[in-house]
Symmetry: none
Subunit: 216 residues, 4 copies
DNA sequence: GATGAATGAGTCTTCATTCAT
DNA sequence: GATGAATGAAGACTCATTCAT
């Protein structure tokens, strides 16, 4: 356990520095001086710099994935929109809590290692696939209009990434409000017009009965 | 060889390599061996590696900016949606034509130099501001529903970035179709529901009379 | 090896090479191959080549300055001439002991760096000022004849530099004798004629009662 | 002659730059841009950078040597001291007229090339030998006291070099006065005391009948 | 386990010189 | 003769990683 604590300590410091300076501008010297360990000690806990970075990256990817639940449909499942909202909220919350970590994912992680680049791309592709599946499901359930769900899935992913990135740069005043806006934008973008009509009459789209999104 | 021709030649080769390997993995040796020039010759035309990279980056940013025209409103202006579509098409066309260059922007350009990072962020912020202004205008014109236009602007920006990035990874079979999908998604996301209703009846949303987006 | 020992080792080797080849002709490769250390090790102890050189230079200047004591006057102070002789001897001894180091100062240190050039000039100016002050004091004490003491101070400085440089090129057979000659030359050059007359009678100028020179 | 004019022009510009920046800090680019000639043209007139520098150096050495005349003794020769004074004046005048050139010799010319270093050392040695011969002659003529004339010769050389160097840094207000001081210092340093006695009585040493110095 | 001195491959950059036009 | 584009050897410096203590 001692070992794990040490590792965690180093990871914590490294995380902060990577977030601030990016992978390339961060050197092992930065990390060990912050973590107050000797050079050799670093290599006792991590194979190399990339390994450490990869671990942090893995951490974000895992945590994010864990926060994006597959949409459940069924009698006793919550309202789909509610599920989407919950997903989005969990993601946003995590980003705000672990801003440094997500910064690493969003801003500093590209173009220095084939494997890692592929890993990140792959992660996003998986998320996009989740979204697409939800959209297809929505179409089946007659909630979502006919469309190229793959393209739309990437649109939605991109929208979320961008907003979340913005959030990570400078937190919004009202996060809940922001979540609603994004959700609303996405839902309207994909919903069958008839539903929106109904919504218009009931006066509130976002909480309307119908919806879809992502999930593991 | 004349100065400009030589410069262009080096830029062309460098572009390809940067696109494939990213800034950090590319070294001057790669560039000069591809361009078949001597080491010193490189420094005859560019101050250093960063300088060359910056020039390429500037090129994409400038070209992209030139392709995104500010929305014109007025009696003899084309249909706003048509303008949006044209913007999007120009961007997509450019990305497909200069895939290597845009690759540099989208995938390999972050985290190695404070100035350049800032320059890119700034570019995107300017695009987002354009979009936001269009949205605000749309609200005024009673085409766009009330919303947090700043947040939505970043959603739209993100959606486009992501789709374009996807495109740059692997060109879509039917680009026009893709443009329509993205446009449709965005418009529906922001349109006042009444308009969509009308659209539904006329059977075609995307070409409907009303819309807005970005501009220089 | 301990830090200081290693540093000293590198300095020792570098000193020899700088003395032989001069600053510009010496490259880091020369130094590390002589010191039998790796490239990186060099930069562990010195910021760069100039830094190392500067340290050596500082060393000579400091050591020399420490060997040139300000002239003391007073009841229980030694004979002024004796003090001058002691100064000169200490300088000469140092030069002979650390021929390589002084070689650096005398022969190989000019024209490659503004700062260092200035530092050396400044050192000599300080020495000249010391000499001048001694001369002024001598005039006050009626030992030294009226003259442009600034000019004469530089004459004396130059004379000593040249002889010391000669010494560093090829040690004299009899150093003590050399010191006497220089001292004698200088003293006669500045002494009031009356004193020399007296000396002539007593048969020995150099050890005559009266004199002065330099000091810290 | 056209050719010679061109050469001279380049030499003139190079001289100025070498004087200001020293050999190493001066690059061919500096020279050609000042001289407004093309890179290749430079090598039409000079074999290489060192060659050009060497030519300038040769120029100073030659000019200086030409200004230091061997002491003539004989019935119709001028007073020896007058000859010394004339030598010194010519040197000082040259230094002041060609400050840039002498700067090169005094400050910027050492430690970058074995041959040139040797050439300079050799020049000074020759001057020292001249002085020594004059001193020996003076002893023979019973004007100069017994001493280690080699050592004294270097003292005198050094004194002159230093004062001249000082002069080249910042011209003295009254050059004639300065020459007298140096001359006076040197003469007193080497003269037989009896002569100074006589001088004391006649009230003016420097112009006294007896003296000696250098020559080709 | 911990340390930190040592390593050396990897890169960038400069600049005197050449040579085709 | 003049030009200036091209050359490439030479050299400085960085930094992830190793290893003896």
């Amino acid at each position: 356990m001692e070992r794990q604590a040490r590792r965690a300590q180093v990871l914590r410091h490294a995380k902060r520095i990577f977030a601030r300076k990016g992978y390339h501008r961060t050197n092992v010297a930065d990390i060990i001086s912050r973590a107050r360990i000797a050079r050799g000690t670093f290599y006792l806990y991590f194979q190399n710099k990339k390994d450490l970075f990869e671990e942090l990256l893995e951490q974000v990817l895992t945590e994010l994935a864990a926060r994006i639940l597959r949409l459940r449909v069924g009698a006793d499942s919550p309202d789909p929109v509610e599920q989407l909202r919950a997903n989005l909220r969990r993601v946003v919350t995590y980003v705000l809590d672990e801003r440094e970590l997500t910064d690493i994912l969003l801003n500093h992680s590209t173009g220095f290692d084939r494997d890692l680049d592929a890993k990140i791309l792959n992660f996003y592709d998986r998320i996009a696939a989740l979204i697409q599946r939800s959209l297809d499901l929505g179409i089946e359930m007659q909630l979502v209009r006919q469309s190229d769900t793959r393209a739309i899935a990437y649109c939605i992913l991109g929208a979320i990434k961008e907003v979340v990135g913005l959030l990570s740069r400078s937190a919004a005043a009202d996060t809940d409000k922001l979540v609603e806006e994004v959700l609303d934008f996405g839902l309207r973008g994909v919903a069958r017009p008839e539903l929106l009509e109904a919504v218009k009459q009931s006066g509130d789209c976002a909480t309307s009965s119908a919806f879809l999104f992502a999930a593991k």
